[in-house]
């Protein structure tokens, strides 16, 4: 492997791992805040017990999300020095804002929430979990703004061959950012809701308190159905925008080598990849790709070959086609997993109507295993986005191979890669063990009538 490959593998590895914990944090923080709000408003004990129960699961993940987030920030300087040097004045700005506006908020108020149960008035304490939820969602906004700039650079001028920020507003109104951020928020809600549903389902299957966990399963489903629908709708619009600014990304996602109009969408293909321009496409749905990529029934999608010759003219000789195999299957994995989540959620909603949610053992079994779906879906989505930008690190401005730290040695890259694999492997395992264990815990005991107004004990280390 070359240094560029190693640096890419390392970045992909730490980012994918980090993004297991981000959406679950954003989603569960929001759901926990909802539960606590329900408790403060209704004073019903089961909401408090659910808040504490799911709050514990939240904290287990926040711990890893926060510490792996530091790695993300350091990665740019450690392995992508030339990239950082070139675009730091643009890319660094949202990162610094993220720290100042979001990380401080999230971390400080998480401490207040955990340890402040018996110190703060109830309503103030409720605000602290909302601050955590808001902070976690806000941090995603800044990092998405930075990432979207790499997909579609805006708000800069070239000075001596270097991009210089000249319009911060443009960075935060970048259409790729606006739609990408909406998609991440909805996907995070999906992730949090699916996990809450899975945990509730496991509890209902294994004799957990039926009434209480039916309540949390219902809350999860009520959030989940619109969230997954919006994830798909927003994702569709994002596809149209990316097709405009990054046509290679979308053409590669359909392995579309020649220009087509109208374009059909294949459910599967055999073969394919960058060396095989004539894969066998199976079950083609007419017009669907035109709709996905352009929002028009008869929209045109420019093929990879014409794009390649256009890019060669524009940027000089080189190979500008991303990895078609990854694009094609990442797109499908994301979409099909999304459909699965949608089906499960609609099934659940239907069972709620029939008042059979707690007793349908088949559904509960499916819902438990459904917990893995959003994580695979999110990962596939990032593959689609990031691999589809290649060979660029910043679309049209800098190639990935020119972005690494030129004097970091191959040995160093190997050592750091192996270190992160070992570290994250261990942490991931510990996190999983704890998640499984605490998902199977009993609810905290109900409080007696006379206790209802007494302070709730703090969560201590």
């Amino acid at each position: 492997m070359t240094n560029v490959d190693l640096a890419r593998v390392e970045f992909a590895f730490v980012s994918i791992n980090h993004f297991f914990f981000v959406p679950i944090t954003i989603g569960l923080a929001f759901l926990t805040a909802l539960l606590q709000t329900a408790w403060v408003r209704s004073k019903r004990d089961e909401y408090l017990r659910l808040t504490r129960f799911f709050g514990t699961l939240l904290v287990i993940n926040v711990a890893i999300g926060v510490v792996t987030g530091i790695v993300q920030e350091f990665q740019f300087g450690m392995n992508w020095g030339q990239y950082s040097r070139l675009v730091g004045n643009i890319f660094g700005a949202p990162l610094a804002m993220e720290g100042l506006a979001a990380f401080f908020l999230e971390s400080t108020f998480l401490g207040l929430w955990l340890f402040g149960w018996d110190r703060l008035p109830r309503r103030i304490h409720l605000l602290t979990i909302w601050a955590v939820s808001f902070g976690s969602a806000l941090s995603a906004a800044f990092i998405l703004a930075a990432n979207s700039w790499m997909q579609h650079p805006v708000g800069y001028v070239m000075v001596n061959g270097k991009p210089q920020l000249n319009d911060i507003w443009a960075v935060f109104t970048n259409p790729v950012f606006v739609w990408g951020y909406a998609k991440v928020l909805f996907a995070s809600l999906v992730t949090g809701a699916v996990v809450m549903l899975a945990v509730s389902a496991w509890q209902l299957r294994h004799g957990g308190e039926r009434e209480v966990f039916t309540r949390s399963a219902r809350l999860a489903l009520i959030i989940l159905v619109p969230a997954i629908l919006f994830t798909m709708l927003v994702g569709d619009e994002l596809g149209v925008i990316e097709a405009r600014y990054q046509p290679m990304k979308i053409a590669a996602a359909e392995a579309q080598w020649t220009t087509c109009q109208p374009c059909s969408f294949s459910l599967f293909q055999i073969g394919g990849g960058n060396d095989d321009q004539t894969p066998t496409q199976i079950i083609e749905i007419p017009h669907l790709l035109s709709l996905l990529a352009t929002n028009h029934w008869n929209g045109q999608v420019v093929g990879l070959n014409p794009l390649q010759s256009q890019y060669t003219k524009q940027f000089g000789p080189g190979y500008y086609v991303p990895n078609v195999f990854i694009q094609y299957w990442a797109m499908r994995a994301m979409a099909y997993l999304g459909v699965l989540v949608l089906l499960i959620s609609v099934w659940g909603l239907w069972l709620i109507r029939r008042k059979k949610l707690a007793t349908s053992r088949v559904f509960l079994w499916v819902a438990v295993w459904g917990a893995v779906l959003p994580f695979l879906m999110n990962t596939a989505g990032w593959f689609l986005t990031e691999s589809g930008r290649q060979p660029w690190i910043v679309q049209g401005i800098m190639l990935t191979k020119n972005g690494i730290s030129p004097t970091v040695s191959t040995t160093t890259l190997w050592i750091s890669l192996i270190a992160f694999i070992l570290l994250y492997g261990t942490l991931g395992t510990v996190d999983l063990i704890l998640m499984l264990r605490y998902s199977r815990e009993q609810l905290p005991p109900p409080r007696t009538e006379t206790d209802a107004d007494a302070p709730v004990p703090a969560v201590l280390y």
Partner: protein
């Protein structure tokens, strides 16, 4: 516009200083928690003195790094590439340490807790050591070529001055943490914190004086110390004296000034360089040849002027909310048999009066 470059250098110095003032005692408590807490209840009490605070404190480091990225991309790129492996180690320390806080109480098994205790102690010791080595390297000089790229290896980082700075920072964090624990614990734990503080203080004092002189000789041709360097020496002498005089509030204030003055002296002596090149003076990285464009700095200035006071306000409020001392009795009998570590009813603490609980 030109004024924003020094302004951002100051902001970055402030962020690093803020990080060390706050996370400094967290590191100290992390290193000492098993010394001050001789049993499980004691260790938990020690950890819970910083429980609600450490995470927010650590963000100062993240923001310091991000601010360097945004305001001085050249500095960030060269420094982080040069320190690659050291940063891997630093990240590993910060990670295991951060996770240890959350996870050590999540299983009721002696071996599980002991493992996390060891990791917490080791992480809390390694982190300031490595950051000290890193900051000292900026000043002492590293092989950097004319393209602003580091040309040395991991071993180039381990110069005597850098190692001494790392050890000095560890010793300051130990004393800072010990005086913090004096302020935040009760009974026998408080007594033990005093004993530890008294034992550490002379070493910290000697190390800080040595570090300041070494820094001065490395960076400056002037004979006399500058104001900040002088302040660091006076503060550490005061800290030692106040520790022996048993004045906990003032002792903590003195260690705070010591740690702040030490970090600031590095930045004062470094300016206007940000990384000294040991290859050639012409290749030094300076605030000017690494800074972002004027527009970026302007945007960031507006953001920091609005947000930093807000952050300071709510972090101060957090410290106020959790001002109470933590006593070992709150953690006895071990609450681990109850899920989620629900403690028994708050105990009235004879030394600070009844604990205030406002539950409505």
């Amino acid at each position: 516009m030109g004024n924003l470059i020094p302004f951002w250098y100051i902001i970055i110095a402030v962020l690093w200083t803020g990080f060390f003032i706050l996370e400094g005692f967290d590191f100290g408590v992390g290193m000492l928690h098993a010394v001050i807490g001789t049993d499980e209840a004691g260790r938990r009490a020690a950890i819970n003195t910083i429980g609600p605070l450490w995470d927010g404190n650590e963000v100062w480091l993240i923001v310091a790094g991000a601010a360097m990225f945004a305001a001085f991309p050249g500095w960030y790129a060269t420094m982080f590439s040069a320190y690659n492996l050291a940063l891997v180690l630093l990240l590993a320390s910060l990670i295991v340490r951060g996770v240890a806080f959350e996870y050590r109480g999540k299983r009721d098994a002696a071996r599980w807790r002991r493992t996390w205790d060891v990791l917490l102690t080791a992480g809390s010791l390694l982190a300031p050591l490595l950051i000290g080595v890193a900051l000292a390297g900026l000043l002492h000089g590293l092989p950097i070529n004319s393209a602003q790229n580091f040309t040395g290896s991991f071993w180039d980082l381990l110069q005597p001055y850098a190692l001494f700075t790392g050890i000095t920072l560890v010793l300051i964090c130990l004393l800072h943490g010990a005086t913090f624990l004096c302020l935040k614990t009760t009974g026998d734990m408080r007594e033990r914190s005093w004993r530890v503080a008294r034992r550490v203080a002379p070493f910290t004092g000697a190390a800080v004086i040595g570090f300041i002189i070494w820094t001065h000789v490395t960076a400056s041709s002037a004979f006399f110390l500058n104001v900040i360097e002088l302040l660091a020496i006076l503060a550490v002498i005061a800290a030692v004296w106040l520790v022996y005089d048993h004045r906990e509030g003032f002792a903590f204030a003195a260690t705070t000034v010591t740690i702040a003055a030490c970090i600031i002296s590095i930045f004062v002596d470094l300016y206007p360089n940000v990384m000294v090149s040991s290859t050639s003076k012409a290749d030094n990285l300076t605030v000017h040849n690494t800074a972002s464009g004027g527009y970026s700095l302007k945007v960031m200035t507006v953001v920091v002027i609005i947000l930093l006071p807000v952050v300071l306000a709510y972090q101060t409020w957090t410290y106020y909310v959790f001002r109470r001392r933590v006593s070992r009795q709150e953690f006895q009998p071990p609450a681990s048999s109850v899920p989620d570590g629900v403690p028994p009813k708050p105990v009235t603490n004879p030394e600070v009066g009844p604990t205030t609980t406002s539950g409505h």
